[in-house]
């Protein structure tokens, strides 16, 4: 037969010296992506190495390494990790920005204290991303934050992002804020449409 019994390899345990933070941080700059991925993975279980991961994230272009850097920061889940990741919301690199949104929404407890600051950012793109990440953020204050955006934010696309989020997680008490938003942008057919959808879904409750 062509089938041969495979041998399952023994796991190599502890690769010694390179496991210290200095060694791993250096390995994050290695030329071989596999080596960088491996270092990024191991730093995910070492607290205090957020800065090293975040620094590398700023200019890592290999998608598989970037995924691992973000995943390790998610696993660390610290305030340092959250603030550093949030800075990358301003990046010109779309895939980095979106990887960051995804990471942040998976860290509700660490992200929550930073939401109001993000929603008040001068850059509308950052505010849009903040609304985007609220969709997936498991936190009881999400409807309150989004209602605040609807009543106060002057940018139509930020409001559209908040409406979209509320379409999925809206409650009846969000309806007044949705109506207020519709009154503020009467000339936007998309926003009127989206608000009608969001109200229909929220009011059903």
């Amino acid at each position: 037969m062509g089938l041969v019994k495979a041998k399952i390899r023994k796991t190599k345990t502890g690769s010694g010296a390179s496991d210290d933070m200095v060694g791993l941080s250096a390995a994050l700059q290695a030329a071989d992506p596999a080596e960088r991925r491996s270092a990024a993975r191991r730093l995910g279980s070492t607290t205090g190495c957020e800065a090293a991961l975040l620094d590398r994230l700023a200019f890592e272009h290999e998608a598989s390494v970037r995924e691992m850097l973000v995943l390790s920061l998610m696993q660390l889940g610290t305030q340092d990790a959250v603030r550093g990741l949030a800075e990358h919301l301003r990046s010109e690199d779309a895939s980095l920005r979106n990887a960051v949104v995804e990471a942040l929404e998976a860290m509700p407890d660490a992200v929550a204290p930073n939401i109001e600051l993000l929603l008040a950012d001068h850059d509308p793109d950052v505010r849009i991303f903040a609304c985007n990440l609220l969709v997936g953020l498991a936190h009881p204050d999400v409807p309150k934050w989004l209602s605040h955006v609807l009543e106060n934010d002057s940018h139509v696309n930020v409001c559209a992002a908040a409406v979209d989020a509320l379409t999925e997680i809206g409650r009846p008490d969000c309806v007044p804020a949705l109506r207020a938003c519709a009154r503020r942008f009467p000339e936007e057919p998309f926003l009127s449409f989206a608000i009608d959808v969001a109200i229909a879904r929220a009011a059903e409750q």
Binding site: M1, G2, L3, V4, K5, A6, K7, I8, R9, K10, T11, K12, T13, P33, R37, R41, H61, E62, A63, S64, E67, M68, L71, M74, Q75, S95, A106, P108, G136, A138, H139, P140, V142, E168, I169, R171, A200, R201, E204, Q205
Partner: protein
């Protein structure tokens, strides 16, 4: 292991316990979290399962239940929901189009990349009670013309040591074997008791069974240069982080250009950007890109 259960329309109970909007919100959320698309044609079935979870969790309304599920991240409830929405079952020849894809398309492409003497490695995880790895083996022996020219290694793993024991033993009842063509049953099984059939020793001993937690990189580090992974209906049970870890671990375990088959209602597009969809005539699968792919 599991698939969306298909059930006939029942006659009992209120016609629509949930409104269209409630159902739409639920489906969107469920898809976002699990990658499983709920079939609108099975509305009655879905509603009954949701109502059952509402009752079991002591919630008084869909709203209360859904809010708890979404905003508090209710640990464990999502898994309970998935269990309600899916049917756990495994049998020979299950979702056969993927095995046909293996013998008609994927193995030829894998073989083209192999140097002489280099083995082809296939990994079935979770292998549950063994139906899948044995199905893979029989398919290759029967339907891949070049099977004799290559060393083919099949690994079969599960986190549950009880099912692994049964997988190694390889004894099945009629129900598990019902889809298997009769001549193949005669060729690869022996009758061991009334209506119980055991996989022949030669086949049982050719598969490397082992216990593995797919989210644990230390455990998966024993698996390398894998060319084809069957990981069907497992990732839907994981939370977001474990699912990504599992995907990372599969990526590490695979050869460049290797393939992954997921369950028919699952999609990699909700889990990770590490793989690319690849359409063959028989099935959509996922592929690990060759290195030095642009950002």
């Amino acid at each position: 292991m599991s698939a969306l259960a298909s059930e006939g329309q029942g006659a009992e109970g209120p016609p629509h316990p949930l409104s269209d909007e409630e159902l739409a919100k639920f489906s969107e959320f469920f898809y976002r979290k699990t990658g499983i698309r709920l079939d609108e044609r099975k509305r009655y079935y879905m509603e009954r399962r949701i109502v059952e979870r509402i009752r079991r969790t002591g919630c008084r309304s869909f709203f209360e239940y859904f809010t708890t599920l979404k905003l508090n991240g209710a640990a464990g409830e999502l898994e309970a929901l998935i269990n309600e929405m899916t049917v756990n079952e495994t049998y020979f020849w299950r979702e056969n189009y993927q095995f046909e894809c293996m013998t008609r398309s994927m193995l030829d492409e894998i073989a083209r990349r192999k140097r002489p003497g280099e083995p082809i490695r296939i990994w079935s995880i979770p292998c549950s009670t063994g139906e899948e790895p044995y199905t893979i083996a029989i398919h290759i022996l029967e339907y891949w013309a070049r099977a004799d020219s290559y060393d083919i290694e099949i690994f079969a793993s599960d986190i549950d040591s009880n099912v692994l024991k049964r997988a190694r033993d390889g004894t099945y009842d009629e129900r598990s074997l019902s889809r298997l063509p009769p001549q193949l049953r005669a060729r690869y099984f022996k009758l061991v008791s009334e209506r119980r059939w055991q996989v022949i020793n030669e086949l049982r001993s050719s598969i490397a069974f082992g216990s593995v937690n797919l989210s644990d990189p230390l455990e998966t580090a024993r698996y390398r240069q894998i060319d084809l992974i069957f990981c069907r209906n497992l990732l839907i049970y994981f939370d977001d982080v474990s699912r990504r870890l599992a995907a990372e671990n599969m990526f590490e375990a695979m050869s460049p250009g290797g393939f992954i088959c997921l369950g028919h209602s699952e999609s990699m597009s909700r889990i990770t950007n590490l793989f690319r969809p690849r359409q063959f005539a028989e099935a959509l699968v996922y592929q690990k890109p060759a290195p030095s792919r642009g950002a």
